[in-house]
């Protein structure tokens, strides 16, 4: 479970989502990089999401669990937003074959399962420590 809900697993599964367009397809990382210089919404939210999740991983040892969990939750929401923006703002349904072809669909489901586990784990952490402050407690004298 810890491996599945790991930040790195979440990010990797996000980047390797396979997009299948009418004439062209690639891993989602390609579309993120393609749109980033042009400031497309899905690229910005996707990159921000990755940054949040990785930031959560880096700070997990320095800051409290609550803060890390909050960062992870925001990161996960941004990853989902990126995909929603990519697929649902495109009125031409150019990449909708992603949901109809086996391999792209499997990779999409894998990402969703991993990211949902990651999200739920962090939500539970937040709920469990909701009364704690967001800073790492100092050792009592």
């Amino acid at each position: 479970m810890k491996f599945i809900a790991h930040p790195l697993t979440t990010v990797i599964s996000f980047l390797v989502i396979l997009i299948s367009g009418e004439q062209f397809g690639s891993f989602y990382i390609f579309y993120l990089l393609l749109g980033l210089p042009h400031g497309t919404a899905h690229s910005i939210t996707g990159v921000l999401g990755i940054a949040f999740v990785l930031f959560g991983k880096v700070i997990s040892k320095q800051l409290s669990r609550n803060f890390t969990a909050l960062v992870n939750v925001i990161g996960c929401l941004l990853l989902w937003s990126s995909l929603c923006l990519f697929f649902f703002t495109d009125k031409s349904n150019y990449n909708i074959a992603t949901f109809y072809q086996l391999l792209p669909l499997i990779l999409m489901i894998i990402f969703l399962l991993i990211s949902i586990s990651f999200f739920v784990e962090n939500i539970l952490l937040l709920l469990k420590h909701s009364k704690n402050n967001f800073y790492k407690p100092t050792a009592s004298k």
């Binding site: 891993f27 031409s92 109809y100 391999l103």
Partner: protein
Amino acid sequence: MKNTLITACFLLLIASCKKEEITQSLSASQTSNSLKNSGKYLQNVKRYLKDSLSNNDFASIDFKKTIATRFDSGKIFLLRLQLKKPGNEFILIKTDSLGNCSKGMILNISYSNLQNQSDLKTKFHSFNGNIVVSSLKRQLIHDLKIKNGYKEKANMNGGELLADDNTLPDVTVTAYIPAQGGISYADWYSLLDLYSPQELGFTNGGGGGYGGTTYGYYSPIDPYDYGYTEYNHVPVEDPKQISYEDPLLPPGISLVDYLKCFDNISDDGATCSIEIFTDLPVNGEPNTFFDWTTGSPGHTFLQIKKQNGTETVQQNIGFYPNQGWKTMFYTPVGPKFVDDAGHEFNASLKMTITPEQLHTVITTMKSLIDAPYDIDEYNCTDFALQVFNSVRVGNELVIPRYIIPGETLGIESNTPQGLYQELSSMKEAYVSEAANITIPGVYGFVGNSNGPCN
């Protein structure tokens, strides 16, 4: 358990996000002729109407503006008679071929405002207004408020003709390019909303606004633009079958079946043409290789037409990979052909060809049925150019080639952008073919395809 439940709910949410937008294409051509014994037919109709209508309504019928829509192989007609009144008001009666009438009604169609009337020419499903259906004695049957082409359920009356779950719009606007050229716009309304499928001779239930169907029979709201002005003459039209295709996945077609349709028209005296179309990834940006929001590289496709007298066959064919994701390594993948009817385009070049040249085109296309698709070495533009140039020996259309993003071996590719740039520069240079180059303001849509023939 909790996690499983959340996962299931989320997946359900994703699955329910199916887009509702539907596209349509006209799949039946209009065949206009007139009723046999129009005079006698109209006499019977007049007798019925005189008995059924008020004197005022009967006096206001414009018998020069009549049109009959033919059903059930000419056994049933829906006759429409325009009233000389402001707005669009007409009588619709079901008749047999002799003019024996039943189930007449008066329809009044009004737009919500002038803005809406002009929107219809540019937007799909944008009809907003009312369709009031009354009996011939002016008793209200339905007052249908139409919003974006669909009935608003709150204002329904007399529900037996109304579906609970509309999958087809009751009124739609279809832009199409008729075989004779030029772009036409028309508003249509569903005939099966006013009469049940059985009344019009459909034994299988038909379509027309009923949930779960894939097509409907439509008729123009204003059919009199065709110039029917003779007295005692009832022109006949066939209903337009509007197919609703699921646009989510363009289905592959059998190229052989599509090309077979050209054999149904005699070569003697036939005029043929081939037109190459380019659709830029981003309209107005001929130097952009991808639509950055979708990853679309644009598209190039062909329209082939053969006409002999009143018979016309037109097919729009595009070359695609069978699965888009397989192109990611820039290696050859399996192909598929798609009917590109109604596809958007930004520029085109049309060439008139002889029937013999059409055979060359068909032979070339058939020889490419198994050609692998390769995004950088043999894509939709390569296919279209190869077929197009098969009848331009010595005068091949050559376009600028570019290295597409993601290509690491430095291979230059034919692209829709290159084709657009070439056509654009040919047009600006007033070359001999400039008149055959179409560059619509921003973008246009190609016409319908005939579909497969067996």
